[in-house]
């Protein structure tokens, strides 16, 4: 029971870090495309 909430907490933190990284990757690609085009 107690471990379950801890796992949820850490998953949320690392999950959102990965999501924000993916957002930055996508935005960088879009900007680079605009730059080349």
């Amino acid at each position: 029971m107690s471990e379950g909430w801890v796992v949820v907490g850490y998953s949320v933190v690392y999950g959102f870090m990965i999501l924000y990284t993916l957002y930055l990757v996508g935005r960088t690609r879009r900007v680079n495309r605009r730059k080349e085009g």
């Binding site: 029971m1 107690s2 471990e3 909430w5 801890v6 850490y10 690392y14 959102f16």
Partner: protein, 244 residues
């Protein structure tokens, strides 16, 4: 060279997060809360990094007002975005920690929770304000003023646990009368360092992106612009004077 230093920072941040997770797993269970207390290793650094991020936004705003430096404006905006991200993490991890310990995810009367939520929405408003103003100078000036005023909330959030009666526990780490367990403190500090590296990596990446976007916008504004419809474009000086 600059690209390489960004990559090194990103790799360091990932490694530090790995180290932080390892120390968090290996830290002993807390006497009364058991393993629940281990959420502290991600909750506390998230909250502290949010404070740091909004502090950088404040400094960036002041520097822009004094020197009109576009870099200061970009750093302020990037830091605010990353600060909102960390505030969101602090809120969510606080709720996840609160449910098993307090029996509720949220208490509308709690000063720490409510002040943090208000801070989150005010800085979301800061980001919305930036998106709503197309002129770069007006945008920088207004957001600098808002960034300075909004920072008032940071000490309010920090001291809310001592100023008001809250469900949230009081100051834990900086307390000479009841020092934190050394093993807990070590895991907390390693995670704090790791989150700081993540903050630096995100903010520098976001600032770089903002610079390229600004340059693109400037280049597009300088190129032939359409006045009304696709057939009418702005006349060039040579065409007007006949000196083509």
């Amino acid at each position: 060279m600059r690209q390489r230093s960004h990559q090194v920072l990103n790799v360091l941040a990932v490694l530090a997060i790995g180290a932080g997770f390892t120390f968090a797993v290996l830290a002993p269970s807390e006497r009364t809360q058991g393993d629940f207390a281990k959420i502290m290793f991600v909750h506390v650094p998230s909250a502290w990094l949010a404070f740091l991020a909004f502090g950088v936004t404040l400094v960036g705003g002041v520097v822009w007002l004094v020197r009109k430096s576009p870099l200061a404006d970009r750093i302020a905006a990037s830091s605010a975005e990353v600060g909102v991200f960390f505030t969101g993490l602090a809120l969510v991890t606080g709720m996840i920690w609160g449910y098993p310990v307090w029996g509720t995810f949220w208490d509308w009367g709690d000063a720490r929770m409510m002040s943090t939520a208000i801070m989150f929405f005010v800085y979301l408003g800061y980001l919305a304000l930036r998106r709503s103003i197309p002129d770069p100078e007006t945008r920088a000036r207004r957001s600098a003023v808002l960034g300075i005023i909004a920072f008032v909330q940071v000490p309010l959030v920090y001291f809310s646990v001592t100023l008001f009666r809250t469900l949230h526990q009081g100051t834990t780490v900086v307390r000479p009368d009841a020092p934190i367990d050394p093993e807990f403190l070590r895991a907390l500090m390693i995670n704090l360092g790791a989150f700081t590296l993540v903050y630096l990596a995100f903010t520098s990446w976001r600032t770089r992106l903002a610079r390229i976007e600004d340059e693109l916008e400037e280049a597009e504004a300088l190129s032939d612009f359409e006045i009304a419809g696709s057939g009418i474009t702005a006349p060039r000086l040579g065409e007007v004077t006949g000196d083509v």
